[in-house]
Symmetry: C2
Subunit: 304 residues, 2 copies
């Protein structure tokens, strides 16, 4: 199966703790690297990971709180110092652009690469990136400021041609593409050979949903339905539900209910408050509702 | 002796390395904490150190390269989240103020403490801070952009009164202060008791010079003369002197010559390029010229 991996660079919440960096992760889909959020210290964590710095071409920013974007300027600046020439695409809430542009004008003159800003509206679910193999869609979240999650979803691929069957029925080569896309074949004798007899099914379409920062938000369930992995805000335990509500964050219970409602295969908890010396309390709480749950941690890589 | 300590939070150069954070350190003088430079990740390092986050009231920024100031916004933001109310003083090249103000307006609304910006001109040597026990003076350095070092110098204190001698000669209590400051005493019989017989000398005036980033710069020697400790740019080894010259940084030899010329007691090398897997090469090079040299490293605390 083609690579679809998530590497956690930071999974702590707002202020730094001795244990966690602030939010950032890298999604590696078939060797293409996508960074999601970029808190302070992201480039330091990146240097310590096995992720290839220079191969990151797209950075997605969920919202404009410092723990999700204060590392961006340092990343851009270091890319410059390291001699980058490839364009870097920043996908972020549109209001970031003028601020970032001023900061770059001030601190990062003479960059030898283009920083292409692609703003989006976090209040809408929209497709904001597409290539041959992948689509990225925003997920409106419920936070103190406009905030979006991101759904990384493989594009459906055509079925695989069964070469032996195709040869047996005399399918000409120029007709392969049509049959892989779903077509039947009609032989010279007029016999209809159904698509299913000529092909094996394509692999399942995999998807990863990054949902951070958010209060419990059932509205996003239809968007992330059937995700192979959900990374969900889990700032608090249920005993601190009042705080979660006040700060528009989630408890482990909220995260687990969302994963259950979405019919997800797996749930990764993250964005931990520093108040829990042992995060097993969060894991145990979630597992009571949704058993296939794991805790994020720095430098953890999860394959889908 | 009163506390005068330097704690290194980061001593790497421009781009992050797996080994070093970018520039930041904390000077603790009699329990007052002064931060010098604030590269990305400073607050993370601070959390891991024994330095009390909330007791930092002054931050000095040497110049406006990202590896010396990209951590400032995160510090200010976290101070806000942690409920700080005491004013925070930022001493930095004057051109930083409008940029920082815009960033704070964008990212740090609702701060419950004042950020007091005190701009200086890095091209001049001027006293930019003074309290009862300490003076901070800028040191013009030689870098690609305007850049200042900082001399932290204790104020001279009065001599200590020898209570036994004072009682013996009948010095009245109201006259103590004048005598400690250097006065003689005249007894009722008209006998002059010289200052020296009534007092013991004050401790020596200690000083610390932070000189980073800079090319070899003999002009600063008169300012840092007799420093107890110099922290000096040591980005390169002598074998890379061409690079040092090109980037306006120093070699270990440059740092050692400066310490020697200044008659310093000790030299600490820092701002290391990531190109030296073993920095002993830098230490050995400096020690040939100035033997009382040490290498900076993260979380090292040096007492003066």
């Amino acid at each position: 199966m083609e690579k679809f991996e998530i590497t956690i660079l930071g999974c702590g919440s707002a202020t730094p703790s001795p244990k966690h960096y602030t939010s950032s992760q890298v999604v590696d889909i078939r060797g293409k690297l996508f960074m999601v959020d970029c808190g302070e210290g992201t480039q330091i964590q990146l240097r310590r990971s096995r992720v290839a710095f220079a191969r990151i071409n797209h950075i997605f920013i969920s919202h404009l709180h410092g723990d999700h974007c204060f590392g961006l300027l340092g990343m851009i600046s270091s890319f410059g110092l390291l001699g980058r020439t490839a364009p870097l695409y920043i996908h972020a809430p549109a209001e970031l652009e003028p601020m970032l542009q001023q900061e770059m004008d001030f601190y990062c003159r003479d960059l030898e690469f283009q920083v292409e800003f692609q703003g989006f509206d976090p209040a809408l679910s929209a497709q904001i990136y597409q290539d041959r193999s992948l689509t990225v869609t925003t997920i409106p979240l419920k936070h103190r400021v406009p905030c979006a999650g991101f759904l990384f979803r493989e594009n459906p691929t055509a079925d695989h041609l069964d070469r032996a069957a195709a040869d047996f029925y005399g399918v000409p080569q120029w007709d392969y593409a049509r049959i892989k896309e779903g077509g039947d074949f009609i032989t010279a004798q007029g016999e209809v050979i159904p698509h299913d007899r000529l092909t094996t099914p394509a692999g399942p379409v995999r998807s990863y949903a990054y949902c951070c920062d958010t209060a419990y938000n059932p509205k996003m369930v239809p968007i992330i339905k059937g995700a192979d992995l959900i990374y969900h805000d889990c700032t608090y335990a249920a005993c601190d539900a009042d705080r979660a509500k006040k700060h528009f964050h989630s408890t482990a219970t909220d995260a687990a209910r969302t994963a259950l409602d979405a019919g997800a295969a797996r749930l990764m908890l993250g964005h931990f408050s520093a108040r829990y010396p042992d995060e097993t309390i969060l894991l145990d709480e979630a597992c009571q509702i949704f058993s296939n749950t794991l805790l994020a941690k720095e430098n953890l890589t999860v394959s889908i």
